[in-house]
């Protein structure tokens, strides 16, 4: 796994540093960058055509007529109506789609943006080298069971030796005292040893069979290869897109819902290449071409990036379902996300660090129930719980400090099985 976050931070610092040096004289541009990102970036890039044209050299194209650019930004429709040639040209060039009006931008703000977009390109925008350690980071989990195991083994060997010594000594002493002892049985034919061994083996086998049987149908760590290499690291991690932007169902429905392709296209109509983010690797170590994956999305969406039109030949993406609950379990995302105010990561793990999603929790009933036993409900904040008069009284009288899910019936059968 990669330490993306540190890399991204390093990258950001690097860029900032370069920018500082390059444009230290033009503080304007800093302001311009912020404004550009806030207002323009969803449709424009500096060097590339997105929904709107690339903005580098915009002043030249408009003949240096800053006032007219100001007007355009404030209200493009009026400028088009006035028949200003460049305005009409741009308008017809982009399928007669009007640019959003930004009346709130002051002239100097627009100047700042223009300054930013006309600045020379940054030296190097490619990310740093691939992480040196492609393998898993060292397992620094405090695993004392191994230590205990070794200790047990040593003790067992010592006790065996001691037993052997003891029996030898007894044999010697018996011999000396003339007591006729039967020929010693080798330990592998000693019935006591065999019996003990058999019992231990039986217990071990039973333990593993039981564990195995319990795990039937469970699929923790299941990590299938998906039709598109969709990286949560890039979306939820690097770009900090809220989980609910795509999985909106999580706050309204029992299903979190995989987003439909049109949700992807909200952003990817503009973002048509993967260039700036960290390098991506599959589990097998091969590198992922992000831009090619975006192309796959376009194929599914039926989007032609050159004409910027939908062809109408889209088909939905057949994602492979990772989290499966048996039919007899009712689970509702909105109950946990909206009413229970749980983080997605509680059950799905650090999803913002997963390139390929895997099943984090084992989704067993024990796992559910344990959480219900420990988690506290929004008892004071949610007016729904006002009917639990007794608990409120107990809290007031300090008999109770909090109310867990279990306390309000969260471990009863028909909370999930009906």
């Amino acid at each position: 796994m990669f330490q993306f976050r540190t890399q991204v931070k390093a990258l950001q610092t690097a860029i900032l540093f370069i920018l500082l040096i390059s444009f230290s004289l033009r503080i304007n541009a800093q302001e311009g960058k912020a404004l550009f990102n806030a207002k323009c970036a969803s449709c424009h890039a500096i060097d590339k055509q997105l929904v709107g044209p690339a903005l580098r050299g915009v002043e030249d194209r408009w003949g240096g007529d800053k006032a007219m650019i100001h007007n355009w930004v404030h209200n493009s429709a009026a400028v088009i109506k006035s028949g200003y040639p460049r305005a009409v040209e741009v308008y017809s060039q982009f399928n007669k789609v009007q640019m959003t009006a930004f009346p709130e931008l002051a002239d100097k703000d627009i100047d700042a943006i223009l300054a930013y977009v006309s600045a020379p390109p940054a030296a190097n925008t490619t990310p740093g080298s691939a992480p040196s350690s492609a393998g898993a980071p060292a397992d620094n989990k405090d695993d004392s069971s191994l230590l205990f195991g070794i200790l047990t083994l040593i003790l067992a060997v010592i006790s065996l030796i001691l037993l052997q010594v003891n029996s030898n000594l007894r044999k010697l002493s018996d011999d000396r005292e003339g007591v006729h002892a039967p020929e010693p049985v080798p330990f592998y034919r000693n019935k006591a040893y065999i019996a003990t061994g058999a019992i231990i083996l039986f217990l071990l086998a039973g333990y593993f069979v039981f564990q195995g049987a319990q795990g039937l149908g469970r699929s923790q760590n299941y990590q299938p290869e998906q039709p598109i290499f969709y990286s949560h690291t890039v979306h939820a991690g690097v770009n900090q897109i809220s989980c609910l932007y795509c999985h909106g169902g999580a706050q309204d429905s029992k299903h979190a819902n995989i987003p439909s392709v049109n949700v992807c296209m909200n952003c990817h109509m503009g973002i048509n290449e993967y260039a700036k983010g960290p390098k991506l690797y599959r589990e097998d170590g091969s590198e992922v071409d992000g831009t090619a994956e975006i192309k796959k999305l376009y194929q599914y969406a039926g989007w032609d990036p050159t004409t910027r039109n939908y062809t109408g030949n889209g088909k939905p993406v057949e994602w492979i379902r990772i989290h499966n609950l048996p039919d007899h379990v009712y689970f509702n995302h909105s109950q946990h996300v909206k009413a229970g105010k749980q983080q997605c990561q509680t059950c799905h793990g650090e999803i913002q660090k997963m390139n390929e999603v895997y099943q984090f929790a084992n989704l067993s009933m024990g796992w559910c129930v344990n959480c219900h036993r420990e988690t506290k409900v929004q008892f004071a904040d949610n007016k729904f719980y006002s009917i639990y008069e007794k608990f409120h009284e107990d809290i007031k009288n300090k008999k109770l400090d909090s109310v867990t899910v279990e306390k309000i019936g969260g471990t009863e059968c028909q909370k999930c099985h009906y």
Partner: protein, 1061 residues
């Protein structure tokens, strides 16, 4: 002195040996061990077989477990529609339309498929009530027998354009007149389309035909009030209701509205107990008759005499023919005096399809001043417009070769026309016959063209149930099959190439004054603009003639026949709906059949022995029923409360093979027994012969299943007078329990048991069922089936008492027994009691489960955990209410091994397992597999959903206080009379706590309260507005009861023995 007894079957009435033996067995059949008398150890299934089974199951389990977990795909939308969130249901207001009946509903659509219908509460007519048939209609859209594409001359036509071309061409060369034959059309826009079509085809006409007709009523009203219409009845304004054979709670006209109104007059305010008085005159025991306070039986041939008798007693200037029967005479006297005393707040209705009887009834309503008070002529009902005479004329024209083209929509005369043979012959002479019916039914089969219409849940449209009350249809799903709106077809064939949906929308946008008004109307589903109630002037010129004709009507023969409509089946359109087929009839409790209902006396007369085993055995004697040259061999069911000389047979059965797996071969078609009297169809025959055949036939009926093992009293009933005089009559009885078991604390709940009393810190669910307003219609039962994925088991399994209904409606007969031990079977009351899991706080089932699969929740639910259940059935054994159901087979296809179903289940069950039909399943409820127990969960999925909704909105839960409901159980929501109330009993403001603690303290009781199982369901005692003494207060409790039993038993048995010999 007379004693009253409540009983469910003849065995119970007589405490017969067969009945006693039957009670001993929790499950009706032996377990499939081949154990002979030597005991299990020496049974013929030896140890080796057992080991084989064990080995096989272990191996099978290992193989099943060894399989890899299959890769599942998750496929999101390509472009998600904005208003759909997968997993969250959408609700669309639409309208149930069938056979002219109109019910505004709201369809629950989950992930694109309608899975449940609820009544639309915005309709002021139904107020959100539904019926069993409406509840079951959602299954109809997934019917596997629906036609899947247009057919011309037996071959599929691939495009509608090609079909249109063929039809237009054929119609050009058809010659003769063009006739459009439909059921009652209530849709204003459809009528416009039809008018357009008729205008384009000169000489064409539109005939409306109702399989179960109200033509006589319409005709009488046309003569009397100048309007061929049905007025609005106001049963809620009537203090006295007299029904002459009208089953207005079950099948007659607008039953949901009438039930709601009727219940309004039956709700008891315990401080001032008052209720309407309902007197029923009828020939057979109908659902409405079962609810009546006083009930009198007569022959069908006496229907005119009864109407005239009542009219004469009220001062009508007619001489009524004499009525021989003393009891009937007294009944007429009673009805007349009550009607007079009511001073206008009275209503007389008749279910007759004879215009002459209806004319007399109109005259009666004039005399008692009902017109304008309980009868409203300003708003008329549109759901029956069929004209029997026109239909008969059409069939004649067809046979005469006058009809060139016949377009058939929504009717099936080849099955339900009284002379269907003549219709079919005529149909063959019609050059161009086109059917819009939904399946290859008896009529479509014989048509040259078939272009199936959409199901109503796939359609745009409107329906005007009553003048001024419009409700809209909107599609809840894209058409599943290649079907087309029949209005669109008519438009295309009259040269208009637009679509009906657009035409309909444009019409209403214009009419309602804009898009916004239209959007709101469509969202609400109803637009109402009802006129203020008003009377209409009555013209009594026809009365004398009608009276004269009725007086001279010929006498009936030895035996007479009533042809009736079943609550569940209606005219037979729903015959392929397994939910309805398996719904026990409210009165007979029989499923999957029609049969001849006869009285006890008639059975005796025919030499049929109603002995010890009569109701324990499922095999029923069959009889030959002959009428007008037609002969049927049918099983009988003996039902008390029938007129001794009357037999009854239900319509809607005996459908053809192609109508579907569930419909085919079930029962026999009774429509051929209907006759035409020159003006309207008659649903009775006055001279039939019935003879015993000596053979038997198995009828799957449930009245001997799930019995209380002789525990008393489960139901409580009092007459109004008693209840007025001693309001604490029931309370006192309940207080005796405190006296006996809780002397120290006075708290029966805590002191009456060794177990601790558990606290319910949050919500505590409870239900209250008012036996006074429950009519027994069965809507709740089907609603429960639809909501909770309750399995259909098929006739063969019902015969083995394996039905799965979570909510059953127990039907009790209450009869009097005189001192010599004779039971008066004609003079009876009927009680209905819906029984579901009572969610006992001290539940006997929970203690006996070896694996803790049934446990108690902190909200008072008795929880059933299917995945834990190992199927010992101890819980079912220990349940005093017998509400637990065991999955004897893999009814729902939930097992991993498909072979568990093949060849073992009825075709109808397999129909429910079709991929198409399974789309109706509620995804929030587990589909149960073989070998587990299930039962009512108080709709726990709705409870969880309602609670979550409140949590998400950061507010307390609303359980009915101030009319705000987060949660309604399916049965509660379906009930047209609001007899079922559910809520949080810890919330002092919820209706259910108010009923228990404030409003109905004198009527509240719990079933089998003496067992101290502490049910969460309470009932409100039935109050009957009658002068006869009602209730069982004479029977003592405990020891005293035992003594009395000993006294009455021997004498009670005598008549039975006499019959056996």
């Amino acid at each position: 002195m007379e004693q009253k007894k409540y009983w469910q079957n003849f065995g119970e009435l007589r405490n017969s040996e067969g009945y006693e033996k039957d009670l001993q067995d929790e499950f009706k059949e032996q377990l499939p061990f081949e154990a002979d008398d030597k005991g299990l150890l020496e049974a013929r299934t030896p140890r080796r077989d057992f080991l084989k089974y064990v080995g096989f199951s272990t191996a099978a389990a290992a193989v099943a477990a060894g399989c890899e977990i299959p890769v599942k795909k998750s496929i999101p939308y390509l472009n998600k529609p904005e208003n759909i969130i997968p997993g969250v249901p959408n609700y669309f207001a639409t309208t149930y339309v069938q056979d002219g009946n109109v019910v505004p509903v709201v369809a629950k659509v989950r992930d694109g498929r309608p899975i449940k219908l609820e009544g639309n509460e915005l309709s002021s007519i139904t107020l959100g009530g539904t019926s069993a048939r409406v509840q079951a209609a959602v299954l109809g859209i997934y019917d596997t027998a629906r036609s899947r594409y247009p057919i011309a001359n037996g071959k599929e036509v691939t495009t509608f354009e090609a079909f249109d071309k063929m039809v237009v061409e054929a119609m050009k060369g058809a010659g003769g007149v063009t006739v459009l034959l439909t059921s009652t059309i209530t849709s204003p826009t459809s009528k416009m389309v039809i008018a357009q079509f008729l205008a384009k085809n000169p000489g064409s006409r539109h005939v409306q035909y109702d399989a179960i007709s109200a033509s006589g009523l319409l005709q009488a009203n046309e003569a009397g009030y100048g309007k061929r219409a049905i007025p609005s009845y106001h049963f809620d304004n009537a203090k006295v209701i007299v029904s002459l054979g009208a089953d207005f709670l079950g099948t007659w006209l607008n039953t949901i509205e009438y039930s709601r109104q009727y219940a309004a007059g039956r709700k008891i305010n315990q401080l001032n107990p008052e209720m309407s008085k309902h007197i029923q005159f009828e020939s057979m025991l109908s659902l409405t008759g079962a609810n009546a306070d006083e009930r009198f039986v007569h022959r069908p041939s006496e229907a005119g005499a009864v109407a005239l008798g009542l009219y004469a007693r009220l001062g009508g200037s007619v001489t009524a023919p004499a009525v021989a029967d003393e009891r009937l005479k007294k009944g007429l006297d009673l009805a007349a005096s009550q009607l007079k005393a009511a001073n206008g707040a009275a209503l007389v209705v008749s279910g007759s399809n004879d215009a002459r009887v209806q004319t007399i009834v109109n005259a009666i309503n004039e005399i008692i001043g009902a017109n304008g008070k309980t009868i409203n002529w300003a708003t008329t009902l549109n759901t029956r417009q069929g004209n029997d005479k026109e239909m008969v004329q059409l069939v004649q024209d067809m046979n005469d070769g006058k009809v060139g083209a016949l377009l058939i929509h929504g009717v099936n005369p080849a099955y339900d026309y009284f002379d269907s043979k003549k219709f079919t012959e005529g149909l063959k002479k019609v050059k161009v016959s086109i059917s819009f019916n939904d399946r290859e039914d008896e009529t479509s089969e014989n048509c040259k063209f078939s272009l199936p219409d959409h199901h109503f849940l796939e359609s745009w449209g409107d329906a005007e149930m009553k003048s001024g009350a419009i409700s809209f249809l909107q599609p809840t799903i894209a058409p599943i099959f290649k079907t087309r709106a029949f209005q669109t077809s008519l438009m295309h064939w009259s040269g208009d190439t637009s679509e009906y949906g657009d035409f309909f929308k444009n019409y209403w946008i214009t009419k309602l004054g804009g898009q916004e008004a239209w959007d709101k109307a469509l969202q609400d589903g109803v637009v109402e603009n009802l006129a203020a109630p008003a009377a209409a002037p009555f013209n009594n010129s026809g009365v004398a003639e009608a009276a004269a004709q009725l007086s001279s009507a010929k006498k009936g023969g030895k035996t007479e026949l009533v042809i009736y409509e079943k609550v569940s089946m209606g005219s037979g359109k729903d015959a392929n709906n397994p939910w309805l087929q398996e719904l026990p009839d409210p009165i007979t409790k029989a499923t999957w059949d029609n049969y001849v209902i006869i009285s006890y006396a008639k059975a005796k007369d025919l030499g049929i022995v109603v002995d010890d085993n009569y109701e324990v055995e499922t095999s029923k004697p069959t009889v030959t029923l002959k009428s007008g040259g037609k002969e049927f061999v049918l099983p009988i069911l003996v039902i008390p409360g029938m007129h001794p000389d009357v037999v009854a047979l239900a319509l809607g059965y005996g459908r053809s093979e192609k109508t579907g797996k569930a419909a085919a071969g079930v029962g026999q078609n009774a429509f051929p027994l209907v006759s035409f009297n020159g003006a309207s169809f008659e649903y009775a025959a006055t001279d039939v012969s019935v003879e015993k055949t000596g053979k038997t036939y198995k009828v799957a009926y449930t009245q001997t299943h799930n019995q209380y093992e002789g525990r008393k009293e489960v139901v409580r009933e009092y007459d109004l007078e008693d209840f007025r005089k001693t309001p604490k009559i029931l309370k006192a009885e309940r207080d005796e329990l405190v006296e006996d078991f809780a002397k120290q604390t006075g708290d029966y709940r805590v002191e009456g048991t060794l177990y601790p009393d558990y606290p319910y810190p949050g919500a505590k669910w409870g239900m209250s069922i008012d036996l006074n307003t429950c009519t027994g219609c069965g809507a709740c039962s089907i609603a429960c089936t639809a909501e909770n994925n309750v399995a259909v088991v098929g006739k063969s399994e019902v015969l083995r008492a394996h039905e799965m209904h979570w909510l059953r409606i127990d039907r009790y007969f209450a009869t009097y027994r005189d001192n010599s031990g004779n039971d008066d079977l004609d003079n009876l009351n009927v009680l209905f009691m819906p029984v579901m899991c009572q969610h006992c706080d001290n539940a006997p089932c929970e203690n006996v489960c070896p694996v803790n699969a049934t446990s108690h929740s902190s909200e008072g639910l008795n929880q059933m955990t299917y995945n834990r259940c190992i199927g010992t059935r101890y819980c079912a054994n220990n349940c005093p209410f017998k509400v637990r159901r065991f999955n004897w087979a893999d009814y729902m296809g939930a097992d991993s091994f498909p072979d568990n179903q093949n060849g073992k289940l009825d075709a109808s069950v397999m129909q429910m397992n079709d991929d198409l039909t399974r789309m109706v399943l509620n995804p929030d409820v587990t589909v149960r597999s073989r070998g587990v127990i299930e039962k009512c969960s108080f709709c726990v999925q709705r409870l969880q959903d309602g609670k979550l909704k409140a949590k998400k909105e950061n507010r307390p839960l609303d359980t009915g206080a101030e009319g705000k409901w987060d949660i309604k159980t399916a049965c509660q929501q379906a009930c047209p009379t609001n007899a079922i109330v559910f809520g949080n009993v810890n919330d002092k403001k919820s209706p259910v706590s108010k009923i228990r603690n404030e409003e109905q303290t004198n009527r509240v009781f719990y079933a089998l309260e003496q067992l101290h199982v502490l049910p969460s369901v309470n009932y409100l005692a039935k109050i009957r507005n009658t002068d006869r003494h009602v209730g069982v207060s004479e029977e003592g409790h405990g020891a005293a009861e035992g003594e009395k039993k000993a006294e009455t038993l021997p004498s009670a048995k005598q008549p039975v023995e006499a019959e056996v010999k």
